[in-house]
């Protein structure tokens, strides 16, 4: 890789000349929400991606419609790291209200691009400053005053393109794709990009070390957010009934699902092979899901913490009466309304045990957009196979941010619709008992309403029932049922996605984590190797109930650090309930729960302290 020295401008005396930094930094764009900066940020992200450089983007937005501060960070990483970093080196300060705070947060040697009139330079003499007359440039390329607010954002794309050496033809291609059917809009926007580029070329001599250089690391890859990926998974699972109630950060999952259903699931006669219902609340949404699951449809809902809380009673009915249904929970911070636009992993315990009584649920834990897709369809198979609600737990970070990914593979197995008896089966069998364990797998056979056989019907209830689905209050029948349900759950350990062994070498210490923690943890492991010369084993958990391999992993290490994004060490707690007593004492926790995605440095520092390295 070409590195060299760069002479800095006279006025930037505080910044020492140093090596160029190529493809390894973050850009933070500070704006106000509602100003339409998403298109510009997306073009920027996709342009870096288009140059073959691994990249990720994160939107840090307020729970508000317009006028409050919002930040978008883009991380380019030649090593492929996609976690949040604590500091972004490059700031585009377009929000006057936070500008001072934003520039003060820059690391020494950073870069600030800002509206000329703001004179942010007064606050820092140790960063490279690039004042830009955004309004003037915008006015020159956009005659319509009311469009200027939007077009203005494209000017910083142009400025950055020039300063960081982003290939303009890639930007042009990205813009063309974004405004595919709107030539005028494209021209206007690209005009603004070029104007910014030219301004920077003429007026802003390079004073900082940050550069982008084409790589070949993104060929064949895609960019997608986790919600869109999960929705795609549901559609490729053949979902037929979707019931939901709007809530950030889950809404876009349903929107993506609905768009794809409209695209792929309308017959040539114009009829829908699906129903999407915006329910009156989450109680109704989960009720519809269970009604549909009982009726034999593949049904789903998607929500976040507050909705999960409302679904509690129904979740227990689904578990006890053994009804399939898929519930996506895109976690945000709680308790209560919490910080609706911030991320968290604090719903693990409440989903695993959602409802009263001895209820427990199968919970899938995707750790990438690709797994959002894969678990998105696997959840339906599992739910119908196990005849129980299945939760898919993602979070705001995974769900609402854009991630680079390998392409998704088409499901390699046909749908598994579980154990369902038809009228012909009943003809042969004479009769059946809904909850009888005839196969020894703790799963009974069910029939669907509408099955034309006099013995097809059974009575579904959330009250005590025997194996013929009859009402019971007999102690031994209740115990038999509860034990069978426990056996079924036990068997699920082998059916849910197995954990991924990232490394299982000879280290005495190990890491366990799930979901988005993985991104930071991988980077942290590399930091530990490089800086402390320790190579820590790591297993990524992908579902509850825990597979036996997780027990083995704990058993074969002296200490195991459970890294997660919640205050109460929920994953560690769940593991403690599962592990034998002598293993429980091995667990340690590294926790992060400020609403921002966990970063590698936090893990590394805590690990180093706790291990006394």
């Amino acid at each position: 890789m070409a590195t060299g020295d760069l002479a800095l401008g006279q006025e930037q005396g505080a910044i020492k000349a140093r090596a160029r930094i190529i493809n390894d930094f973050s850009i933070n764009v500070a704006t106000v929400n509602g100003s339409g900066s998403q298109s510009a940020n997306s073009v920027l992200l996709k342009s870096i991606f288009g140059m073959g450089i691994p990249v990720s983007g994160k939107n840090l937005f307020p729970s508000n419609i317009a006028g409050l501060p919002t930040w978008y960070t883009i991380r380019a990483s030649k090593d492929g790291y996609v976690a949040r970093t604590r500091d972004a080196e490059i700031l585009v300060a377009l929000n006057a209200e936070t500008a001072k705070q934003d520039i003060e947060a820059l690391p020494t040697g950073g870069v600030a691009i800002y509206e000329e009139s703001q004179n942010l330079k007064q606050y820092r003499d140790d960063v490279a400053c690039y004042p830009v007359p955004f309004d003037k440039i915008t006015a020159a390329v956009c005659s319509e005053a009311k469009l200027r607010k939007l077009v203005r954002n494209m000017v910083y794309v142009g400025v950055l393109a020039q300063l960081l050496s982003i290939d303009l033809t890639v930007v042009e291609g990205g813009l063309r794709k974004q405004f595919a059917k709107k030539q005028k809009v494209f021209e206007l926007n690209f005009g603004a990009v070029k104007a910014g580029f030219e301004y920077a070329q003429e007026k802003l001599p390079k004073q900082d070390p940050f550069m982008l250089e084409a790589m070949d690391e993104t060929a064949g890859k895609i960019i997608i957010d986790g919600n869109a990926a999960a929705g795609m998974g549901a559609v490729f699972a053949g979902v037929t009934v979707v019931a939901w109630y709007p809530i950030t950060p889950s809404t876009s999952l349903i929107e993506a699902t609905t768009d794809l259903l409209k695209k792929f699931r309308v017959t040539p006669e114009g009829k829908a092979t699906f129903a999407v219902v915006q329910a009156e609340d989450e109680l109704a949404a989960i009720g519809m899901v269970l009604g549909a699951g009982w009726g034999g449809a593949r049904s789903m809902t998607s929500t976040s913490g507050p909705g999960i809380s409302l679904m509690a009673e129904f979740a227990g009915l689904g578990y006890f009466a053994e009804i399939p249904g898929v519930i996506f929970d895109v976690q945000r911070t709680g308790p209560s309304t919490g910080m609706p636009t911030r991320t968290s992993q604090a719903d693990l315990l409440s989903t695993a045990f959602l409802s009263h009584g001895d209820t427990k649920h199968v919970v899938l834990l995707p750790g990438s957009v690709k797994e959002c897709f894969e678990f998105g369809y696997a959840a339906f198979d599992l739910s119908e196979r196990l005849q129980t609600p299945v939760f898919v737990l993602t979070d705001l970070d995974l769900g609402m941010n854009n991630w680079m990914s390998e392409q998704f593979d088409y499901p390699d197995k046909p749908l598994d619709r579980g154990k369902v008896l038809t009228a012909e089966d009943l003809q042969r069998l004479g009769s059946f008992a809904r909850y009888r364990d005839v196969d020894g797998d703790a799963i009974g056979w069910r029939t669907l309403p509408g099955t034309r056989h006099p013995k097809a019907a059974y009575f579904t209830r959330g009250s005590g029932h025997n194996d013929a689905a009859g009402y019971t209050e007999k102690p031994h029948e209740y115990v038999a049922l509860m034990e069978r349900l426990a056996r079924k759950f036990e068997n699920a350990r082998k059916l849910v996605p197995a954990p991924v062994v990232v490394k299982d070498g000879s280290s005495k210490v190990g890491f366990l984590a799930y979901g988005t923690t993985d991104f930071a943890l991988r980077e942290s492991r590399d930091q530990l190797k490089k800086e402390n010369d320790v190579d820590v084993d790591y297993m990524r958990i992908r579902a509850y109930p825990f597979a036996h391999e997780i027990h083995d992993f704990v058993a074969s290490h002296e200490r195991v650090y459970v890294v997660e994004q919640d205050r109460d060490a929920q994953l560690a707690s769940l593991l403690k309930l599962d592990l034998p007593a002598e293993q429980v004492v091995k667990l340690r926790s590294i926790l992060h729960y400020n609403g921002l995605p966990i970063d590698a440095r936090t893990i590394t520092e805590e690990f180093v302290t706790k291990e006394g390295l």
Binding site: G220, K221, I222, I223, I224, M232, V235, F236, A237, G238, V239, T240, V241, A243, L260, F264, R265, G270, K271, A272, T273, F274, A275, E280, L283, A284, G287, M288, L290, G291, A292, G293, W294, G295, G296, A297, S299, E313, F314, Q407, F408, Y410, P411, P414, L415, T447, L448, P449, G450, R452, H453, P454, A456, A457, Y458, F459, T460, R461, G462, S463
Partner: protein, 349 residues
Amino acid sequence: MATTTPTATPGPKLNHIGLPVIEYRGGKSTLCAGCGHNAISERIIDAMFEMGVEPERMMKMSGIGCSSKSPAYFMSRSHSFNSVHGRMPSVSTGAHLANHQLQMLGVSGDGDTASIGVGQFVHLMRRNLPMIYIIEDNGVYGLTKGQFSATADLGSKLKTGIINDLPAIDTCALAIQLGATFVGRSFSGDKKQLLAMLKAAISHKGTVMLDVISPCVTFNDHEGSTKSYKFMQEFDEPINEVGFVASFEDIAVDYNSGEIYDVEMHDGSSLRLRKLHEDYDPTDKANAVRTLMEAEEKNEVLTGVFYINTEKPTFTDLLNLVDEPLSTLPESMTRPPKEALDRLMSSLQ
């Protein structure tokens, strides 16, 4: 003569799909003897039998309460879902979407509907989901031993002497206003009226909401109750006399009498409403609600068919679903092909 001729024992009466009434029965009721809910179960059995409903093509739904237990006591050959308290509407909505070819009858209580379940109730009415929704209305929570429900009338008295000082929710007025397309009230003790209404309900496409006064003999059948047998016998005021002629019955219907309001039902049957109140037009929504409110002021319990609309599209119509049940669509119709995923993948590069 020494030979005996076998006397043909007459078989049980069969309905027009060839089933005897016993095929419409359910398990033995565990409700109190004399409970209005039992009488309603009997009428449901009669109506289903007489209408020749195929039991396997009916779904029975309920919430929680004495009333919600009753689906166990009729039509054992139909799938049944006894769900959670107050949430029968959402479960029914899901079940219907899974298989919209089936018919659905739901039994709820006044507590299940008007107290804990009023949120889901109003939205079901609003959607005009095809189902028969019966409230077995006794003005109290039977199963939790007799507390007032939200349909208890102002001034009515519990056995303990407690007086209800809140106004009742009129579920019929509410249902009409919100969009249900067949709304009526009956009384568990009025066999003829209830049977005719249930038969008409089976013929209707859309939400049928029937509030059936059903005395709780254990907790609300005393002096001072407005949901007792005695009170109903005294204050039941039919607004129309309900007659019903099924499409398969060979009875000529005279459409011209000014006394009778004839409604042609979706399946070709005929609902005949003999006017008992002057010029009551059951297709006039605003008038129906007004009439109910006026009756309440006069302390009358109006019964009969208050409102009917056979034109309004149902929720299913609005969703534009394929004719087949969604539950059993083959994989080829539900999982998009590989090319679809390929296309998506290339658009995301």
